[in-house]
């Protein structure tokens, strides 16, 4: 089936070539990081996680978002999603590979990463995160591939894929829950220490993932002969809408708890993000932008006239995607570290190199996504005739 990927139009090859170029440049920069250490990043003693982990967190969400098409289709036999389920699964595959690459990029000693397997440590959330991420990746590759292959051959998928599909649903919830647990179980980090973090992560995931999927559907429709179906996109947009409302609602709950209780250790982080602290306020414009984007997104999605407008919808999705990205990657990580437990304010700005390496990872993900989507859409075209 992979032979499909090596046949393509000129545009396809130019696109892959561009991605490969970005990957090559990023790899060269990564070699610098590998040789000289994480000194090339903007991270510091106080803000010890940065752009890599931020993007990792966000992409776990995108991966988990794929389950929003899997559940309706497999659990509720929602036929409209039949055509796009595979897209959701392949989106999860590409996102998860990016997640794993971001983790590796963030490690100080990547050559030792197998120590996590050699000394399994059940009390560490990172260990569990590794398990669920790899598990979910494996499940999605196997399920996506086997189901697509069966579709191509016009036979029923092997029986053993059914239980795997069911297992993949808790895994999807699991990856984001465990990722939230990475943060929310840490004493002394008031910003993260809230039980609503995992639900909030899931809510933003179920907004960002399907929003991205809608955009991908548009792209697929534009560049291939495969039509994911307007009704499926409609349903997705409703999912995005309610998930986004939940996300904002959870955030407002958080704001209430923090500011009504006025506990400084919890309050200072949100103050820093939205108003600045001790004269430091690099993230203030970003956070307000995020809020505006998300509220605009809600507005555009909740009104049927706008939601049902084929021209407006992709722009709405872009707004939401950017809004949730700022909210979850920039805000969530920097917000947690600033101010530090000793109440120092050390601001974090990613370096150029850091951003380049991240772009390399994203380019790799997009390359995988492109190839997988090409497979999926070509097979679907082929089967339709």
């Amino acid at each position: 089936m992979l032979e499909i990927a090596i046949k393509g139009s000129k545009k396809y090859w130019i696109w892959l070539g561009a991605l490969l170029t970005v990957m090559a440049v990023a790899f060269a920069v990564y070699i610098d990081q590998f040789v000289n250490g994480l000194m090339i990043t903007g991270m510091s003693r106080d803000v010890s996680w940065g752009f890599y982990i931020a993007n990792f967190t966000f992409l776990v969400g995108v991966a988990a978002g794929g389950v929003m098409v899997v559940i309706p289709y497999y659990l509720h036999d929602y036929e409209k999603f039949h055509r796009i389920t595979i897209l959701g699964e392949f989106l999860a595959v590409a996102s998860l590979i990016m997640c794993l690459m971001f983790i590796v990029a963030d490690l100080g000693q990547p050559t030792r990463m197998l120590n996590v397997l050699l000394y399994p440590t059940p009390n560490s959330m990172l260990f569990w995160d590794m398990c669920v991420l790899n598990g979910y990746l494996f499940l999605n590759i196997v399920i996506g591939w086997k189901v697509l292959e069966a579709e191509r051959n016009q036979v029923r998928p092997p029986d053993w894929t059914k239980p795997l599909i069911y297992i993949s649903i808790p895994f999807a919830i699991g990856i984001h829950t465990v990722t939230a647990y990475l943060y929310c179980g840490l004493p002394g980090r008031g910003f993260w220490m809230t039980a609503i973090l995992a639900p909030r992560f899931l809510a933003s995931a179920f907004a960002a993932g399907p929003a991205f999927l809608i955009l991908l559907c548009y792209i697929v429709k534009r560049f291939t002969k495969f039509d994911p179906g307007w009704e499926a996109i409609q349903t997705l947009s409703k999912i995005v809408c309610y998930a986004l409302i939940a996300n904002v609602f959870f955030f407002l709950c958080e704001v209430f708890v923090v500011f009504y209780s006025k506990i400084p250790g919890h309050m200072s982080h949100i103050q820093y993000l939205f108003f600045g602290l001790y004269g430091h306020g690099a993230l203030v414009p970003w956070m307000w932008t995020s809020m505006i984007l998300m509220f605009t997104g809600i507005g555009l999605l909740i009104v049927p006239k706008f939601r049902n407008n084929e021209t407006i919808l992709p722009f709405t999705c872009i707004l939401i995607f950017i809004g949730t990205w700022i909210d979850k990657s920039l805000g969530m990580i920097s917000g947690g570290f600033v101010p530090s437990p000793l109440h120092h304010v050390t601001e974090y700005v990613p370096t150029f190199q850091e951003v380049l390496i991240s772009l390399g990872v994203l380019a790799t993900g997009l390359l995988i996504l492109t190839v997988l989507f090409k497979l999926a859409t070509t097979v679907k075209e082929e089967v339709r005739g």
Binding site: R152, N153, Q154, E382, G385
Partner: protein, 548 residues
């Protein structure tokens, strides 16, 4: 035929998991329905091939010469020196199994010895025993003989050879997947050559070869009958179109000599393809003054000698160049055929060339040089027609083929033996609007054989043919059910005959046609009247009610 074994029963017999045991210890069982009758003595005699005598594969005694083992041994030895392919293929197979489920006969019968690797091992095991140093060295070690994996040439082995080398259609599908490119077809060719040294051919091959040698074509049609047949088509065409397309025969000084397999002249549905050629040549003659001649001497494109031995192939093939030289044409045009093209493409120039008495082929109408046929000087008719269409030289009415929902079967020989994939598709798409490909893994270089190639198109081995054709039929059935495909196009004469039977058995709703039958339907002849029938004398689409 179909009363003997229903499709469902045949399907029930398929099991792709061989049960344990050692294949070397499993003796061959020659089963009716799976083999062709033995070559008749007189056919073998005509060609002066060895050991002509009546014999019956089902009997124990095959009436072999005393020193048959020696003959085989020397035969292998000689061929190892003459063919590097043979020697290398004997040595380097690692038995990785990649080819195992690529063979249509294995897929259709489940007989493990139809896995290409095992078919080759039948010969290889003897080679290892008799010709490798390893076997000689290892004999001194305990268990070494076992490690060498050889076995002596016995009567059982010989029978196994005969049975299984005539269960291979030399389609080369396995070769596409082999990491070393081992071509089982070449091994089968060697195997059949060796068997022929003992006079162990099948009649479906030997008799056509003898006919072809004597009368010029496989069916043994004599010159006047050949002419009659084409004149009969001319009458039909006149009835359909109102135009007389009378062909020319053995005409000296013509531009082009046209050679097609005799199957097109004498067996439905090839005859309709033949009519297509006639219409095309008439059109070109009237519009552009192109002078095409047929030959009664070289009235056979096919070459069953190819299924006998290299020498026999050469003897039959020689007629093409001889006739072209005698008639003084510029170059040769070849009709739709499979193994004919394999021979022309890969052997003819080497065996019977150089054809320096011919001109490098140029299409006189479009001026296109057929660069790829520069030396052999023989052009495939779909290359020729595609070139004409591309240059807008043909006036076509696609709607006359509107009732045809087409799919296209790549013939093994033209796809894996030369790579003729796009030309027929181009022609097809220009004469018919409804075209659907069969699934990816069953077309182009991965195409499946009709199950009856390489001389196995007999009546007595019908079970073998239906089983071997199963993968092809299965793919046709798929597009038939999915897209309502009702016609299977092909550019091979054996396909046209074999696939018709195959379709009747597995997918009765699908008809088989040649590409030039559709061209003949679509081509608007100068001066023709309003056509109401297609070449099969069936009403054209939109004209159905006129008949009633």
């Amino acid at each position: 035929m179909s009363d003997e074994l229903k499709p469902d029963e045949l399907l029930n017999k398929i099991d792709h998991k061989p049960d344990g045991g050692d294949w070397m210890d499993t003796p061959v069982q020659i089963r009716p329905g799976m083999y062709c009758y033995a070559a008749k003595a007189e056919s073998v005699k005509t060609l002066g091939l060895p050991n002509a005598r009546p014999w019956n594969p089902a009997e124990d005694d095959w009436k072999l010469p005393e020193n048959w083992q020696e003959i085989i041994h020397n035969g292998i030895k000689e061929r190892l020196e003459r063919f590097r392919t043979f020697k290398v293929f004997m040595d380097i197979c690692v038995r990785c199994g990649a080819c195992a489920d690529k063979c249509h006969f294995f897929l259709g019968t489940g007989d493990p010895k139809n896995m290409p690797v095992l078919r080759a091992e039948l010969l290889r095991s003897v080679y290892r025993n008799d010709f490798t140093r390893a076997a000689k060295l290892l004999k001194f070690l305990p268990g070494g003989e076992f490690l060498a994996g050889g076995r002596p040439m016995t009567m059982d082995v010989l029978k196994e050879w005969w049975y299984y080398f005539f269960q291979c259609t030399e389609c080369r599908r396995c070769s596409v997947f082999c990491p070393y490119g081992i071509d089982t077809a070449e091994i089968t060719i060697m195997g059949r050559e060796l068997l022929n040294l003992l006079g162990l051919n099948i009649d479906w091959i030997a008799t056509p070869v003898s006919n072809c040698y004597q009368t010029g074509n496989h069916l043994g049609i004599q010159p006047h009958a050949f002419k009659d047949m084409l004149e009969f088509f001319t009458e039909d065409i006149e009835e359909i179109t109102g135009v007389n397309v009378e062909p020319q025969f053995n005409k000296k000084g013509a531009d082009i000599l046209f050679i097609t397999p005799s199957g097109d002249v004498f067996a439905d549905p090839g005859t309709y393809t033949c009519q297509g050629y006639l219409i095309l040549f008439k059109y070109l003659k009237d519009k552009y003054g192109l002078d095409v001649t047929w030959s009664t001497y070289a009235s056979e494109g096919g070459n069953f000698g190819f299924f006998t031995s290299h020498e026999t192939m050469k003897r039959l093939n020689a007629k093409m160049y001889a006739e072209a030289r005698r008639l003084g044409v510029k170059w040769i045009l070849g009709g739709e055929c499979g193994h004919m093209w394999r021979v022309i493409h890969q052997y003819m120039d080497t065996m019977n060339g150089p054809a320096d008495f011919l001109e490098e082929p140029v299409n006189p109408i479009t001026g296109t040089k057929f660069e790829n046929a520069k030396s052999t000087k023989m052009v495939h008719i779909t290359e020729f027609t595609a070139d004409l269409i591309k240059h807008g030289k043909l006036e076509l009415d696609k709607s006359r083929n509107a009732n045809r929902i087409m799919t296209y079967h790549d013939s093994c020989n033209t796809s894996r033996g030369m790579g003729l994939l796009e030309e027929p598709r181009y022609v097809l798409k220009n004469v018919c609007d409804n075209f659907f490909e069969m699934p990816e893994n069953t077309i182009r270089e991965q195409t499946f054989c009709c199950g009856s190639g390489s001389g196995l198109n007999a009546g007595e081995n019908i079970e073998l043919r239906m089983a071997g054709g199963l993968p092809r039929a299965n793919a046709v059935k798929y597009v038939h059910e999915k897209f309502g495909v009702n016609t299977l196009g092909t550019i091979c004469a054996i396909d046209r005959a074999a696939l018709s039977t195959l379709m009747e058995y597995w997918v009765p709703e699908v008809e088989v046609c040649g590409i030039h039958e559709l061209v003949g339907n679509a081509l608007i002849l100068p001066g023709e009247h309003d056509r109401e029938m297609d070449l099969r004398m069936e009403p054209l689409p939109g004209k159905e009610d006129i008949d009633e």
